[in-house]
């Protein structure tokens, strides 16, 4: 670098002189350049020598450090087979619930039941899901994660179990196994990290709480200073709005894109657009007919969903420790086209005794918005409004007037549910949280369920990282 500067100086000097340069002047300039060069070279030599010494010293220090490190690492149990054990963490959860309506009668009237566990927790004391997470790098190319849920009914469910690539170039990533879909915003957030005890209504009605699929996911992150990612998933489509289709190929597909960044020194945001498409076959749900006897309805056709999501977070200087605010909202549009079969032939004394099949088309929507404010260390308050719009439900069986009437489809009665929820939570440390939540839930037609939940969420073991 010095040499380059030197050359530049020389050129500058050569051109700066008066056009008919005197020999004496030139000689003087040459002499100056020579002196300059010598001075620089001397300085470089001196620096080289001194810095060589400094480096040697640093090197020595480093060596001794390594020695100490090895020694220090010994007693911590870094040897043996256990050293490669995956990181393990356990989430403990439970609730105390008071509800004005019987949780067993829960339904989201106006919407085809999504089959998920979307109702309020059981009354009185109840255990939530105990989540056991294992995660580790498999090798330089893959990372593996498994999350098992021990349910209060003493069952074990595989929440997630997937591998993820670590070494694909160009911002590409591949995930395979069972995982939470990347659609929407809240879908990928684990239940213990939600800001309320339960999922927003559109998640309950359209995705059974959260879309979890067995399949593969591709993601691509753009090499831009503004966060931009695209993703696509192919899955078996077993879960609502899909169903087990018993066919080769993928049963459901999603595509999604997310954009995000910072605004100023205190705001961060992310917005996204997602699309889900699946073709359920004989997707069944239970209902009762006009006489109150059990009926099975099955749907076969196409289901499509669009989700728009956005989140804005505020924390002074991006430091959320003392205070922060989070504003989050998502809009869902859900469309189904196909045929519905009404079958009461399973009953002892059926009204009709034979199945009816006719067209079934729905176009429904829902959205929620929520704000959570940490007003001082440890304490947060939050409010959520969520609603579903009945939209249009065109049931050919009812329309043609030949058999079952609207009274034989009570779950699909015209109703647009709404809910107001408020919560207050206290987190003594990063690893524990107690929450009090009040909700006025109009999911069922004609009744309001006033709910009070007291909830604890504790996390043991490896320090998990939380998604934005």
């Amino acid at each position: 670098m010095f040499r380059r500067n030197l050359a530049a100086t020389a050129v500058a000097l050569a051109f700066a002189g008066p056009a008919p340069a005197q020999d004496a002047d030139l000689a003087k300039i040459r002499e100056e350049i020579k002196q300059n060069r010598e001075a620089y070279e001397q300085r470089i030599r001196a620096l080289d020598k001194r810095l060589g010494e400094a480096e040697a010293r640093a090197g020595k220090a480093e060596q001794s450090t390594t020695k100490t490190e090895t020694a220090a690492a010994g007693p911590a149990g870094r040897a043996g087979d256990n050293a490669f054990n995956p990181a393990i963490s356990l989430i403990l959860q439970g609730t105390y619930a008071n509800t004005s309506q019987d949780p067993n009668t829960f339904q989201i009237t106006g919407f085809v039941p999504s089959g998920g566990e979307v109702g309020p927790p059981k009354r009185s004391f109840g255990l939530g899901e105990t989540e056991l997470t294992f995660s580790a790098n498999i090798d330089p190319y893959f990372r593996g994660v498994a999350i098992a849920a021990l349910t209060p009914e003493n069952e074990v469910e595989v929440e997630e179990a997937y591998f993820q690539t670590l070494a694909l170039p160009l911002g590409l990533g591949l995930k395979g196994g069972r995982f939470l879909s990347g659609i929407g915003y809240q879908n990928e957030i684990h239940q213990h990290a939600w800001d309320f005890q339960d999922a927003p209504l559109p998640y309950k009605a359209f995705l059974g709480g959260a879309l979890r699929q067995d399949g593969v996911q591709f993601r691509w992150v753009a090499p831009t200073p503004v966060f931009f990612e695209l993703g696509a998933e192919l899955s078996s489509g077993d879960q609502f709005p899909g169903s087990d289709q018993n066919k080769n190929g993928a049963g459901a597909g999603t595509i999604f894109g997310h954009v995000g960044g910072d605004v100023g020194s205190s705001y961060a945001w992310r917005a996204g657009l997602s699309y889900l498409r699946t073709s359920p076959k004989d997707r069944a749900y239970e209902d009762v007919d006009s006489l109150g006897s059990a009926v099975t309805n099955t749907f076969t056709g196409k289901a499509r969903m669009w989700i728009v999501d956005a989140i804005l977070k505020w924390a002074p200087n991006h430091n959320p420790t003392s205070t922060n605010f989070k504003l989050q909202g998502e809009y869902f549009r859900f469309k189904q086209d196909g045929n519905l079969t009404y079958d009461d032939s399973g009953q002892a004394a059926p009204q009709f005794g034979a199945p009816f099949t006719d067209t079934f088309n729905t176009e429904q929507s829902g959205w929620y918005a929520q704000g959570v404010w940490q007003f001082m260390p440890r304490w947060r308050v939050g409010y959520r409004y969520d609603t579903l719009r009945y939209g249009t439900v065109s049931n050919g069986i009812v329309n043609n007037g030949l058999g079952p009437t609207a009274a034989d489809f009570p779950v699909l009665a015209t109703h647009s549910p709404t809910r107001n929820t408020a919560m207050l939570d206290w987190s003594p440390s990063e690893f524990s949280r107690l929450r009090l939540q009040f909700a006025s839930d109009k999911s069922r037609i004609g009744v309001t369920d006033n709910q009070v939940f007291l909830q604890y969420i504790h996390s043991l073991g490896a320090h998990g990282a939380h998604k934005f």
């Binding site: 670098m1 480096e55 330089p140 992150v221 831009t224 503004v226 320090h463």
Partner: protein, 300 residues
């Protein structure tokens, strides 16, 4: 279609690919950003993921961090679990194979050093303890020198074309650093034995270097915010074992320090903690100059 033109004009700069330097460096904390700048010069373009006003334990894996990590050739972090709450997510979500743990593109400063305060017992009942030891290593000048030597070598390894430049800059930096360290050692002599109350145990290396004495911490346990009961207990202890000042880092909430300062009648002192924490702490030299100057105001 005019609106489309305007939309594109508005969006394109935002999506423009960042300027190409030989080495794109993602520094987890400002001190390593400043060090990388000293060593990298024009060869490196540096993005500093956090500021002096942020608690390095509590960073969110914001979309902007993921976007910058996507194009990084080298991530320079503290390590020792300081970034455990956010960096693993940034690494996996960035889709960048170069910066994964174990790759040359992932550099941890604490790997070059001997850590202090390694817990005898790992139990979260003791607070948010770090199994590998205290990770806040940068406020001891000799640690900076060790990390500098190792980091320059790492940069040279990742950008072999410019090896000579990184080494030359490391030499110049270490030379200046050595002179400055000697001067700080001399200036800091009056601080020997100075008793202070800290906020979090993030100044331990500074205290050890200068021979200062910690008589208490505002946090009842590492990582837990100060509580009224703990503060009153601390105040009572100060009656027996008085401190000269309550010292907190720039990112820490000032209220607890203020509370104790008023009642114990000792000054509350804010230290920049890292580069950018005060007007004078513009680089690593300014950081130590300012830290010493501030501490010396209470040493009389």
């Amino acid at each position: 279609m005019n609106w489309l033109k305007y939309l594109l004009a508005a969006l394109l700069p935002a999506f423009a690919v960042p300027a190409v330097a030989a080495l794109n460096i993602f520094a987890c904390e400002p001190e390593w950003g400043a060090l990388a700048k000293e060593l990298g010069g024009d060869q490196a373009s540096i993005y500093v993921a956090t500021t002096a006003l942020q608690d390095p334990h509590r960073i969110e894996a914001r979309p902007s961090l993921i976007a910058w990590a996507r194009t990084a050739d080298l991530v320079v972090c503290t390590g020792a679990e300081l970034e455990i709450g956010w960096m693993p997510l940034v690494q996996t979500q960035s889709g960048n194979p170069k910066i994964q743990a174990g790759q040359p593109g992932y550099f941890e400063a604490t790997r070059q050093l001997t850590l202090i305060e390694i817990p005898q017992r790992l139990d979260r009942a003791l607070g948010d303890v770090h199994a590998a030891g205290n990770p806040h290593v940068h406020l001891d000048p000799s640690n900076i020198a060790r990390v500098a030597a190792a980091l320059a070598e790492r940069m040279a390894q990742l950008d072999p074309g410019d090896t000579a430049q990184y080494r030359a800059r490391a030499r110049v930096f270490l030379e200046r650093w050595q002179l400055a360290s000697a001067r700080w050692g001399k200036e800091g002599a009056p601080l020997k034995g100075l008793p202070i109350v800290v906020y979090h145990r993030d100044l331990s290396y500074l205290l050890r270097w200068l021979g200062m004495r910690e008589v208490g911490a505002l946090e009842p346990k590492p990582g837990l915010p100060p509580t009224a009961s703990h503060l009153s207990e601390l105040l009572a202890n100060l009656g027996r074992d008085p401190a000269k000042a309550v010292v907190r880092s720039a990112y820490a909430d000032p209220r607890a320090a203020q509370w104790l300062s008023e009642r114990a009648k000792i000054p509350a002192l804010m230290l920049p903690f890292t580069v950018g924490g005060s007007d004078r702490a513009k680089d690593l030299f300014g950081l130590f100059d300012d830290t010493l100057a501030r501490l010396l105001t209470v040493a009389k």
